[in-house]
Point group: C2
Chain length 241, copies 2
């Protein structure tokens, strides 16, 4: 069996018992090598298959192949394994090659949820997730979704907001959102969640310092009603107080 495990943002503290158990029960662990440090204690003595950053397809294929040989395999993702992560790729590979394999997906806390908790409560009303990486989605489609999300006044969680290879994506996205919501909309920035250097910053579209944003950052743009109180950002749900 292949278990795809979401380990949460990056510490044991936010990894569920189900995820922990799945890693402990596996005979073979497949993971991006950087993540191994987060569960060193429970994988001692197990077979470990790890590759670097861009090896997702290779890691998934190896996990599938070893599981097809009858071994208990845990394929580990950070965050939730089904949100822009490894679980879907496993099904894509199985379908493309008409392979039969029992797959179990263990959910995990994704960056938007962990980030929202650090900021206050920005996700109290309808919200969406958009990845600004155009490695696999054409930029035109990303722009179309930004327009739709801003028009519907969703709270918008931006994943992969900015990288060295895509330094202008965040600015372009915020320009589109500004057209509909205005520049004083509250924006929360969360960096290195659950890791050293964890940081939550509350700002607005107009005052945001882009240099703060890199690939380990999640950006949450509020809706028109999102407010700041003290150190917290929150979106009212509509209660009549």
């Amino acid at each position: 069996m292949l278990t795809v495990v979401g380990m949460g943002p990056g510490s044991f503290n936010n990894m569920t018992p189900a995820a922990h158990q799945a890693i402990e029960n596996a005979e073979v662990i497949v993971a991006y090598q950087y993540y191994l440090q987060f569960f060193e204690e429970i994988i001692e003595g197990k077979e470990v298959i790890s590759t670097g950053m861009t090896g997702e397809i290779e890691r998934c294929r190896q996990a599938v192949n070893v599981a097809l040989q009858g071994k208990e395999v845990a394929l580990v993702s950070s965050g939730d394994s089904g949100i822009y992560a490894m679980a879907g790729l496993v099904f894509e590979i199985l379908a493309a090659e008409t392979l039969e394999l029992e797959v179990k997906v263990i959910p995990g806390i994704t960056a938007s949820i962990a980030g929202a908790a650090l900021l206050g409560a920005p996700l109290m009303n309808d919200f969406c997730h958009i990845s600004l990486s155009d490695l696999m989605t054409p930029w035109e489609m990303i722009e179309k979704r930004l327009h739709a999300a801003a028009q519907g006044d969703f709270v918008i969680c931006l994943y992969n907001p900015r990288s060295k290879g895509r330094p202008k994506h965040l600015a372009k996205a915020l320009d589109i959102i500004r057209e509909y919501k205005g520049g004083d909309i509250v924006v929360g920035i969360v960096k290195d969640i659950d890791r050293e250097g964890e940081q939550a910053i509350i700002t607005s579209i107009d005052t945001l310092d882009e240099e703060l944003v890199d690939m380990t950052t999640t950006v949450i743009v509020g809706n028109k009603y999102t407010k700041v109180y003290g150190d917290y950002m929150y979106t009212p749900r509509g209660y009549d107080l």
Copy 2:
């Protein structure tokens, strides 16, 4: 201090160590009475304040008041405490009454993420959450968001999809989505996640049996590329296999 705790979908298995710890460390627990059964062992001997289903505002106010008296209070929500739940209401109350209180939000696994894991991997591309409850959001706004989300071909997670008081909301929502995506779009239905009677059903807009859907159900409508393979529903991410 007031800690707002997301306990996940409904079993210890999906409650994080951070959530568990926050409940254990509190002197006073405030929770909807039905949820107390899920953490009975760790609240023995603690002061418990609980109210029925519609008592959210009252529960939050009580939690705030007791915390202002200097006690360590854990206010417990199911799922994630910041997604259509209690954390935002706490900040609304603090802001409305200009109260100063240290608040910590502990994230939890929300129904869409736990439900997606049971279905396969439907959330692998851009997605949104829309609550179909018009108790606090006008139905016109909900319809506007449904149009926007369908137009942007987001995967759409519907919360509060149908209840006795709102039997037609799901059908109305699916009619709007059908206009843009067609009736053969894959739909996943998850019921009673992590509880007795847990069920995951894969169907389509046209073949969905509305009677299966009630307030304990989350409905996930795929995007145009969402596929079914075996018992699983998944949305391709765009990998070139």
